[in-house]
Symmetry: D2
Subunit: 401 residues, 4 copies
Amino acid sequence: MDYMNGPGRNHLFVPGPVNIPDQVIRAMSRQNEDYRSPAIPALTKTLLEDVKKIFKTTTGTPFLFPTTGTGAWESALTNTLSPGDRIVSFSLGQFSLLWIDQQQRLGFSVDVVESDWGYGADLGVLESKLRSDSQHTIKAICIVHNETATGVTNDLHAVRKLLDAYRHPALLLVDGVSSICALDFRMDEWGVDVALTGSQKALSLPTGLGIVCASPKALEAAKTAKSVRVFFDWKDYLKFYKMGTYWPYTPSIQLLYGLRAGLDLLFEEGLDNVIKRHTRLGTATRLAVAAWGLKNCTAKEENFSDTVTAVVVPPYIDSSEIVKHAWKRYNLSLGLGLNKVAGKVFRIGHLGHLNELQLLGCLSGVEMVLKDIGYPVKLGSGVAAAAAYLSNSTPLIPSRI
Amino acid sequence: MDYMNGPGRNHLFVPGPVNIPDQVIRAMSRQNEDYRSPAIPALTKTLLEDVKKIFKTTTGTPFLFPTTGTGAWESALTNTLSPGDRIVSFSLGQFSLLWIDQQQRLGFSVDVVESDWGYGADLGVLESKLRSDSQHTIKAICIVHNETATGVTNDLHAVRKLLDAYRHPALLLVDGVSSICALDFRMDEWGVDVALTGSQKALSLPTGLGIVCASPKALEAAKTAKSVRVFFDWKDYLKFYKMGTYWPYTPSIQLLYGLRAGLDLLFEEGLDNVIKRHTRLGTATRLAVAAWGLKNCTAKEENFSDTVTAVVVPPYIDSSEIVKHAWKRYNLSLGLGLNKVAGKVFRIGHLGHLNELQLLGCLSGVEMVLKDIGYPVKLGSGVAAAAAYLSNSTPLIPSRI
Amino acid sequence: MDYMNGPGRNHLFVPGPVNIPDQVIRAMSRQNEDYRSPAIPALTKTLLEDVKKIFKTTTGTPFLFPTTGTGAWESALTNTLSPGDRIVSFSLGQFSLLWIDQQQRLGFSVDVVESDWGYGADLGVLESKLRSDSQHTIKAICIVHNETATGVTNDLHAVRKLLDAYRHPALLLVDGVSSICALDFRMDEWGVDVALTGSQKALSLPTGLGIVCASPKALEAAKTAKSVRVFFDWKDYLKFYKMGTYWPYTPSIQLLYGLRAGLDLLFEEGLDNVIKRHTRLGTATRLAVAAWGLKNCTAKEENFSDTVTAVVVPPYIDSSEIVKHAWKRYNLSLGLGLNKVAGKVFRIGHLGHLNELQLLGCLSGVEMVLKDIGYPVKLGSGVAAAAAYLSNSTPLIPSRI
Amino acid sequence: MDYMNGPGRNHLFVPGPVNIPDQVIRAMSRQNEDYRSPAIPALTKTLLEDVKKIFKTTTGTPFLFPTTGTGAWESALTNTLSPGDRIVSFSLGQFSLLWIDQQQRLGFSVDVVESDWGYGADLGVLESKLRSDSQHTIKAICIVHNETATGVTNDLHAVRKLLDAYRHPALLLVDGVSSICALDFRMDEWGVDVALTGSQKALSLPTGLGIVCASPKALEAAKTAKSVRVFFDWKDYLKFYKMGTYWPYTPSIQLLYGLRAGLDLLFEEGLDNVIKRHTRLGTATRLAVAAWGLKNCTAKEENFSDTVTAVVVPPYIDSSEIVKHAWKRYNLSLGLGLNKVAGKVFRIGHLGHLNELQLLGCLSGVEMVLKDIGYPVKLGSGVAAAAAYLSNSTPLIPSRI
């Protein structure tokens, strides 16, 4: 029997992979093609041009690696740094941890700045490190924009301002996996040197594209970076860009067409409207959590994430039971608590191709799960709080006005 | 700009066409084939055998017409009756009206039994007609099992008992368009002579199959019925059934594969579980309506429909504004009030491939729409009432236990 | 085991259903929608406007019935004629025969003009009938433009000229099922009153749309035509056209989107280029047949069909063995000989979404089948003859120049 | 205008990406899922078990990397070797060259054994190197099973026999990108230590899976290999295999379902039948090339490739014009000559989901292109030669007997 069979739709609220628009599924339902014909380069050209818009960059150079976010991380690091290089990296949850693990295994000297889980990157520590680094031994700052495990959004602009204040030349490398296309992100304005995301996150595609964007300064650094790399090497891509054939090795044709369809939808809605929609859905979720009398894992309001909410459960409840039960009874997919917060939080992903009524369906499901599992929730309370906010803030759908 | 583009999914809650399972969409995403090869007859054979199960018949003969419900009506009538034949037909809403219009245009002498909209078929009148018809001038009783315009379910078993009580030989022709595969329907047990449905209703397929099932008595009647018919003639089908090629003219290959996938899902869930699910969703919807302080268009509890609820709005509200607004702001598709109840009711379809959280998403959307449109609803009230019931009645998904 | 599984693609060369473009399959791979929202009427409006172009009419009114070609026939007849009306109808193959059968069962007085199978409509007989019909008892002329069973194309313009010569007011009803969108067809110029086709033929869609186009004169006739009709009644459509909602009953949403995609492709190639392509593929096929030393079932060159070629096999071969063997060994679907020519001809359909190399693959397959079955064919001979012609006549693909 | 639009199908005969079965496209046309639910691990488990069969191994451990063949190469090398390790690598065409380039950039000491393009790996040189390497300084032998640029298949069994003869412990790393699932390949029997392929080759899927299979000896080597690796590290996978969750980072859900469908088709046909089909198609292609009077780029019969044929054109013809013209006029995609043979050869890929009539369509197209471009080919000659062979060797389709 197929696990996925069940009455009605699966309600997908993990913080990635996310719901794919039908238009994208359709665009990808296609045969292979010869990627050396004129068709694929012509398509790729438009994609590279348009993908810059989601990074809000005009000077950056994007790469569409056939990989995942983990590969995109590796590409960002190995193209800009040399083994032994000192980097400052913020640890604040499972995904920043995994990136730090990668940084260490790739041979960098990682200066880890710890935060308690639920807290943002400790920029005070960064400042002191920058202040004392007149020798510029720090080659890069690595930071996740949005820590998916705890629902913490960091202030990238503040990092840039610190670097500028100390005229520090360190590269700024940003994991935008659960932020780009959903949260306010400004590569050029904030002086981000490498930003990256994965196709299965806010872009709402299947997994398979690791999208990396490099600033001119990062491209310059790549010329001397000594980290070993071949598959993830920007150099090969740049060579093929110049030739106009774009691909040093075979791309996924289907994902390219999917990306085209996804970007078209994104631009039709308007990137800023997309970001506002995420603010709306994030706010509504937090209002529901408060109405349930539960705590947000994110300690401070300034770090509230509009793409994922980690909800802390009372000590007498195992949050993984919530996730299991939601899936088994209501066809609702929630995110598990990971590592330090395993059993303690469950996560509601509210990013990507999603609207108000989908979220309210999810919230009503969470309420029922909480009740089933023994938490004294008032059914309807979270939905009511969220709906009160949404009914005041949801705009008309532009194509239907 | 494409009207259908909007953030997130369309929430489809009209009482047909309904949500299609992804498995069915996949199964239908295919090339044409030669329908005279052995493949299509082999497939058709399994379909005809399995389709009987949804009618709960072992003695009936099904026909899969490439048409809609309207065509299925025509097939039921023209194959069993002759021009001028007297039939008793119940008028209780827009769809029974349309069927009566068809009956009249096809030249039958239609004895219309009127009910106020919101009320069920008046079986008292039927009884008096049967009692006085010792000559058996009534050739057929035509009744919709579930009137989609008002959300009224009729008691077919009671009709059969009346016919039996008066030993009346009239054929019993049933429109099961919005009932079969969702409500309790028993062709053999209730002595239904022709039953019919459309693929886009509870079967959760695209429009395009008018499924008609004939009892042995109906097949016998077809031999002498003088109504003119060619496209809808059972005789041609029966001839090709006998030859084992099944199709007198080209079928939709895609819909046949879709039907196969749809039936497989249905039987995996279990037809009786499907019916229970509809009872659950129907009950939950009615609890929400009551919590909102609104009236069900269906007057009596015995006629409550588990596939569609027609909600009466206060006189100061135009229900078509509700439908328009739901679509424009929340990507929610609700059913309009039709004909006599235009402007007075809106309809929530809760049939087909649908689960609890989808319904709760819809109900939360209706609440917001009601508030937006000026009705003093307490946000969350309907969802809470529905969820309280659902959290006590929803079973675990069998494939995940 | 699934009959359709086999290494590589199925080579579909029956004269319908035909190969569907991937773009159309993609466009149709979608959810249901509320057909009463503004989206479907807006789409329908463009379809009705554009569908006129494939009929080459500006004055005609098209109807998109959710039915097949057989249903479209019925719609053409019942909307324009009354029971007992005298019609002249040409019998020249299985499909004209089936139409005549329908005409008789619908109660018309059918004046059948017979031709031997393989010959075109006998216009000499028509002329004598028209000449002697000064009372205008003939209400309609019914003719298939292209008889799919024998590969015979009739001269519609000549029919029109005869009617005009005798100033005869009879309606001209044309079955364009295997011609429209593939052969030269001019509704307005040739004074056709009703023309019809099915979606699974040259339009290259799945089965499910019976497309009927009525001249103003035909619409006028519909006002007094007494044939019983409801599902196929134009009147209901016209009423909904006027209201701007377009559909008296539920359409197949998927087929509407498919038709949109199909028409877009058609117009991108250019209807006249499409017709030229069919001339090219038809000519190439006939050259191959001649090279094999086999006879075309079509007796006269003037009737050669560019959409289907019926190939006569020697008496010692059963053509149905050819069809069976092609399917079993080479995954090649050919058309059977029907009725009078069963066992005597097999048919190669060369219509719809098809190009030169697909046809040459088919022809090479037919050669191997002929050899396997015991006919002394020279392998490569037919392909060589076809290729010699095609390499001189195939244009560059416009999008790639 | 969309380059891919054109009448009829694209004829895809590049040696990858290849034609995808419709069943696979359907299986992949689906939503994202939570890959941490029980569904994806359950699916993955069957895939890992079944994928071993295509390598003909029972002792190997497979990895399904979300990457391409280039990434799979990198995974094979970095998991088993340390920087500075001496490896023997055969250079015989563009793809072996690219792999050697990667080996060098990854920091290995590459002992390159050159062959002229068109010739197989020089095992004589290998033997002398092994003979003189009593110190076992050679850590690995790297060889492409099938060089896609020249259509040269190497004798892997012979390599194993040499290693055994000299009791040499070097690892045997094999690029099976254009061989596995199409040519005879036996991981266990031939003592291959790492074998790899890409999903878009003979497996007939979209690009996106780099499938790597490691022998127990390779897994053992991985424990001490010092090459830097994170994304491509087997260790992380093995850890998650042990936990039963299988994925250290997000997989492409769609490709997993596609792989399931592809393997099901493969096993239904039977792997040995698939290999025989490739032999048949390869042989037929070579017979056509000979009939055209053209030379195979592959010098010796023992190296003839059954997945790709590189055809040498006369000096007065630029082979890239052939490729361009085939695409522009006949919608036929052929492979370019690469690097040393650019302009000198064009390539016909005959691997993956492909049957006899598709190939004959391609060959007829090549004939027309050759004629168009000025080569004096006798039209039909190649098709005739191929068909003569195929009509004697093609079996009936098992599902249709």
